[in-house]
């Protein structure tokens, strides 16, 4: 026993010594904000990656021509001070600022901006998709940049705010290997003109960004931003409650009430632009009949789904454009509610008085499995038997894009905040994301027309017309629109939210008051 006590004493002494020499178990805190996330970073090249975890850092390291501020309805200047579109919407001229510099001392001008857009298109990765409309990039003056478009593209100015087209200087080509535009090098280095630069990156563990005191927009108040990868949601919650991290992402909805009640923690809540919906195989029976799709829409209990699964962290919505964005007709909200007799009548009219059997396909994402179970029970009430099949995300997305799904679920956040992103991308017959695979010349005409206009009022009318059309055709069934939730310590100050830039966090304007 005596020896056992000695061993316990020695282990205790060793632990205390280790904690003393290591400055506590976490070390001493500089003026920093620590964000914990489950999503690992893997590439910091703005022209390569479309992953949220990477974009969050790119947003702080690189500047764009324009940006989203705290007001979701406006486009704010950044490296461009002003811009103007021609009457036909085919050319856009941007006036640029003359006092911005990159990490390596490169001075920003129109030649640099021109190169950056050429690189974006040359690399040809996912981020280049919204910019395929660019025909030519010109730098007529040192601080004037001009885009010639292949066709008028209404959302063009909004796409300029995206992290996808942040400016990379030509000096990146000093690191080019085998014609890769410097991709291999830029994947884990930073070369931006933004308020932060990469200080260190321990892969799979943490990224440290250091503030640039000579940033043209003014030095950030924080010295550092630390992004820690913590895979387990339970651990992220524990760390936030313990105050060892400042902001936690991807907290389980079930845990939010506990965090709201905890001292020193707040959960920021606001409507997001993230929408969730069911889609159908509209090319084959039974979902090729609009009456069957409508019956599904009338069979679901939306409020119960939001209360039961989302615990109130969502709102019901109808139509392709989320609440809070122009281009939607609010009168449509709430028109689809659970009306079982009507649903049964529609099924009988469509030739399915006894219902039918279908397969609900999904991936193990968020609460999709719970939703599928609930949808299964709702549809059973009108005689539709639902078999649930779950696949891994890669398999599922391949099946969805290959139109191999009879009844499926998906959620979407916009790449750029314009109704075009939700309408054209999800319904146009040539769009890859038209998961319901509905082919309609009428829809294409409306969506192409709205895309070609530059006047918002005219576009608004067309999107509203489309809104009613989708309501009648029920090409998809909208379930709910998420409420954005950001748990953080109350000592974090200066945070603001803009649904256009979810999941980006404005660390450049934030500070800490412990």
């Amino acid at each position: 026993m005596c020896r056992f006590k000695r061993i316990v004493f020695l282990v205790g002494l060793l632990t205390v010594s280790l904690m003393v020499v290591s400055g506590g178990i976490f070390g001493q805190a500089p003026m920093a904000v620590v964000l914990a996330t489950a999503q690992d970073m893997d590439n910091l090249d703005p022209h390569v990656t479309t992953m949220n975890s990477n974009m969050r850092l790119i947003y702080l390291i690189y500047d764009g021509l324009c940006q989203f501020g705290s007001d979701p309805s406006t486009v704010d200047p950044m490296l461009a001070t002003s811009w103007e579109a021609s009457d036909d919407g085919l050319s856009w001229i941007f006036q640029l600022r003359n006092d911005a510099y990159f990490e390596d001392g490169t001075h920003f001008d129109s030649a640099v901006a021109k190169f950056s857009f050429e690189r974006l298109l040359g690399v040809g990765g996912g981020p280049s998709s919204p910019y395929q409309v660019i025909e030519e990039i010109l730098a007529p003056e040192p601080y004037t940049l001009k885009f010639i478009l292949k066709e008028p593209f209404g959302p063009f100015i909004w796409t300029m705010c995206s992290v996808f087209c942040r400016i990379v200087p030509p000096s990146v080509m000093e690191h080019e290997e085998d014609g890769d535009w410097g991709q291999a090098w830029l994947a884990d280095h930073s070369l931006g003109s933004g308020p932060f630069q990469l200080k260190s990156w321990e892969k799979g563990q943490r990224v440290v960004l250091a503030a640039k005191k000579d940033y043209w927009g003014g030095a950030p108040k924080l010295d550092q931003v630390i992004v820690r990868i913590i895979m387990e949601p339970a651990t992220r919650k524990m760390e936030l409650l313990a105050g060892t991290i400042d902001i936690a992402e991807d907290i389980l909805i079930e845990d939010l009430d506990e965090l709201i009640a905890a001292e020193g923690v707040e959960v920021f809540k606001a409507p997001s632009f993230h929408i969730n919906y069911l889609y159908f195989d509209t090319q084959n029976p039974p979902f090729d009949d609009a009456r069957v799709r409508k019956a599904v829409a009338y069979a679901l209990d939306y409020d119960a789904l939001i209360d039961g699964i989302m615990k109130g962290w969502a709102v019901p919505h109808e139509g392709p454009v989320p609440i809070g964005m122009w281009g939607r007709d609010d009168r449509l909200d709430g028109l689809y509610t659970r009306r079982l007799p009507l649903a049964r009548q529609l099924l009988a009219e469509a030739g399915y008085p006894d219902g039918f059997t279908t397969t609900f396909t999904l991936a193990p994402i968020a609460n999709w499995a719970q939703i599928a179970t609930l949808v299964q029970s709702y549809l059973a009430d009108v005689g539709i038997t639902v078999k649930i099949e779950q696949y891994s995300w890669p398999t599922y997305i391949a099946m969805a894009l290959g139109h191999e799904v009879e009844l499926g679920i998906i959620g979407i956040t916009p790449d750029y905040p314009d109704p075009d992103m939700f309408a054209w991308m999800l319904y146009h017959s040539t769009s890859e994301l038209n998961l319901s695979n509905y082919q309609s010349e009428e829809i294409d005409r409306i969506l192409d027309g709205a895309r070609a206009l530059s006047e918002q009022d005219e576009r608004d009318e067309l999107y509203k017309e489309f809104h009613w059309l989708q309501h009648e055709l029920v090409l998809v069934v909208y379930l709910y629109q998420d409420l954005f939730r950001q748990p953080m310590r109350t000592w974090v100050k200066g945070y603001y939210y803009n649904p256009n830039m979810q999941p980006l966090i404005p660390f450049q304007d934030m500070w800490v008051e412990r």
Binding site: V21, T395, M425, E432
Partner: protein
């Protein structure tokens, strides 16, 4: 060894490629246009027939090139080199914990057969096999991080502490070598929970094997002779019993290492330990074929080398074994 590795590459390549899914689409993002995805697929060589893709992979492999990760856009070898030390440090520590702990526990259980220690060791062994490691990891975090604030919850080093200067990539060794006591303390504290969680299953296996092996040996004539010479019991156990009883443990160590390597995939996720396990988990979600293949080939190679060492070590442990 070479044919085994060759077989592993075929199996891994087939399995990775038979999973339905399109890495180009995953890389480009769900909102990317068809043209962009097609271009990316061509660039990644994914539109070639499987046989051509495999032979290209093999020819590169013989030149020490594991390909380029679709997800990170960096050479897989360099990604694995960055991640390997973390996994090695964790696995080695867990191997030590399970080896030393298992031998002590197994020997005590055998020497004091049917005593409280024996029953206790049985409970530990049962728990080690039955308790899911991810659950154990979270419970340990809850107790030692959240309640007691004794140990950090995850990662390899304190969030405000710089990593030690890279020499081997093993934080404990590097910080010790550089005399960086802050980093040493922090990295040792960070190592405790993941290593204990990872080692528990192996510890159970080792302790039960040692127990039965010691029980077999302890009643043999030469042990009785040693005792009758008047040797102290501790010496008899250490010099005469354990040396022979440990041969099965050494045999097992190759398999134990393989189990530990497999276990890192789960443990590294729970403790966000930035090793190869976490890397391969993220690669699987992105259908990053070259990264999945690279990990599989490297893991197979490590297990093969370990087995080779095990075979060689028999010569030193058992004088009757000689290789011609």
């Amino acid at each position: 060894m070479i044919p085994t590795l060759f077989g592993v590459t075929i199996l891994a390549f087939l399995i990775a490629n038979l999973i339905p899914g399109d890495p180009a689409r995953l890389q480009a993002g769900p909102n990317a246009s068809r043209e962009v995805v097609e271009r990316l697929r061509e660039k990644l060589g994914l539109d070639d027939p499987l046989l051509i893709q495999y032979s290209r992979y093999l020819s590169h492999l013989f030149q020490g090139d594991l390909g380029t990760s679709i997800r990170t856009r960096r050479p897989v070898l360099s990604d694995l080199k960055t991640r390997f030390p973390a996994t090695f440090e964790l696995t080695l520590t867990a191997l030590l914990f399970s080896g030393i702990g298992g031998i002590i526990l197994g020997t005590l259980a055998a020497v004091k057969q049917d005593s409280l220690i024996d029953h206790g060791s049985r409970v530990v062994a049962l728990a080690g096999v039955a308790v899911p490691s991810f659950w154990l990891g979270i419970i340990l975090q809850l107790i030692f991080f959240f309640k007691l604030r004794l140990l950090p919850s995850s990662g390899r080093i304190g969030q405000f502490i710089s990593s030690p200067t890279h020499i081997s990539g093993l934080y404990v060794f590097d910080s010790l070598f550089a005399g960086n006591w802050t980093a040493l303390g922090s990295s040792l504290l960070h190592l405790v929970m993941p290593a204990v969680t990872l080692s528990l299953g192996a510890l159970a296996l080792v302790s039960r094997t040692v127990r039965s092996s010691v029980l077999d040996v302890i009643s043999l004539d030469y042990v009785q002779t040693a005792r009758s010479k008047g040797l102290r019991e501790r010496i008899v156990i250490r010099k005469h019993v354990l040396r022979n009883a440990l041969i099965p443990v050494v045999t097992m160590s190759g398999m134990t290492l393989a189990a530990l390597l497999g276990g890192t995939v789960l443990i590294e996720t729970v403790f966000t330990w930035p090793g190869m396990g976490l890397y391969v988990v993220n690669s699987i979600f992105a259908l990053d074929f070259p990264a999945i293949m690279g990990f599989t080939v490297l893991a197979a190679l490590i297990v093969q080398i370990m087995n080779l060492f095990v075979d060689i070590s028999y010569v030193f442990l058992d004088p009757r074994i000689r290789y011609g």
